[in-house]
Symmetry: none
Subunit: 225 residues, 2 copies
DNA sequence: TAAAAACTGAAGAAAAACTGAATTAAACTT
DNA sequence: AAGTTTAATTCAGTTTTTCTTCAGTTTTTA
């Protein structure tokens, strides 16, 4: 995991860095708000360990920043203050846990694991439609418990269809989704036809359900009705 | 710490006892299986240093005993150089590390500290995936009871794959994990290909299982399916 | 039933992945 | 510190996989 440690006490900071790095985490650290924001702006971390009392401001600002940017780093607040107010404030702004100094590094580690588990458990990794199960993490597709192997375009297509199940998807919209808007295809949908054909074949190899319907003149509709 | 030394070579046993006692450890020692079991039944230790070849049986029996009783003593196996199988077997049964004779007492001490740290952090010292056993402290990898020697990058890669088994790992993510974010590789994945090739070869030299799958256009997936 | 749209299989083009060997860099030795 | 060994990276050529194009066919609808 990629962890950012924001802590101004040098000794503690270095201890955390060393200790967590031993666990195959990639750790970075800094001692103030400004550097932390710079680092966060430049990179996506998994975890932020955040001291509240920093030389150039309160760690809460980082929580606000992360919230505003809709980032999903997990945050554990580390604070010398055990005041209930701080705790509530931090958790309200979006921290995942709160640790009061002094603490054992082993406990920090345990908290990190716990928070990470919780995060992972709460995010739904499967997209299900009838007998079709798409595992987003494994990037696998199972139909009737049989895995079907899809190319990138086919996979993206299926995902898009299932995310919009029951809706009519215009070929232009599909093209835009798969290739971005830089693709000019003036009247030529041959490549869509081609990928649709291949996707259909792979689906029909393992089910009799004809999910992928054509809508003449417009596009496609993914439905079981 | 309370340490039990199980070793039948008198000289080595006494050396360990003396050396480790200097560090404020409370040490006891014995030379055979039966005495060891008696001692363990009567007292809770922190550490067991375990020779495998004992006059009245194999040290493995102690590992089984500890496992059955759900004890949580940390165990470091001390084995003779030629018994490679013993080492792997030990790690599988639940030893936390192993040490090959002859060794420096300083190294033994270092291993004890390392094992203890990780135990305190409530983490397992071995990562096991099917016939693959990784000992995180010794940084060693065994597949089908054969040790495979990996370079740093290969080891880090394998660890990352196994920690994320079943998930698709994007090449970009892999690069970030191995080199941090300071690495800019705009379109050039040559070094990844290179390391992947070498890692694959080493794995396939000792197993027929093709664990490391390519996911065209994205990256890799480590899986046994 | 004619025109437009959609489909198909196959082939060519392009992209991505792989490989062995050469080069460069890093890590040990003495 | 120089030399040796080992590992990491780069490179150029090859193979594999996917994407796109094309020409001919079928389906749809007006």
């Amino acid at each position: 995991m990629k962890i950012l440690i924001v802590e101004d006490e040098q000794g503690l900071r270095e201890n955390m860095l060393t200790y967590l790095s031993e666990d195959n985490n990639i750790c970075e650290s800094c001692a103030d708000l400004a550097t932390a924001i710079t680092k966060l702006a430049g990179y996506q971390y998994d975890f932020v360990l955040l001291d509240i009392g920093l030389p150039d401001g309160e760690g809460f600002e980082i929580l606000h920043y992360l919230k505003k940017e809709m980032r999903n780093e997990a945050v554990i607040i580390i604070s010398a203050r055990n005041s209930l107010d701080d705790r509530i404030k931090g958790l309200n702004i979006g921290a995942d846990d709160y640790l009061v100094k002094p603490f054992h590094l082993a406990e920090l580690k345990a908290r990190i694991v716990a928070v990470f588990r919780r995060k992972a458990a709460n995010s739904n990794n499967n997209l299900v439609f009838n007998e079709i199960v798409i595992n987003l993490i494994g990037r696998t597709v199972f139909i009737n418990d049989v895995e079907i192997l899809l190319t990138r375009k086919e996979y993206d297509m299926l995902l898009y269809f299932i995310a919009n199940k029951g809706k009519v998807i215009a070929k232009t919209a599909l093209a835009e989704h798969l290739w971005g808007d830089e693709m000019d295809m003036h009247d030529n949908f041959d490549f869509i036809y081609s990928h649709i054909k291949n996707l259909r074949k792979k689906i029909l190899d393992v089910t009799t359900n004809d999910y992928l319907k054509s809508v003449y003149g417009i596009g496609y509709k993914f439905t079981d009705k």
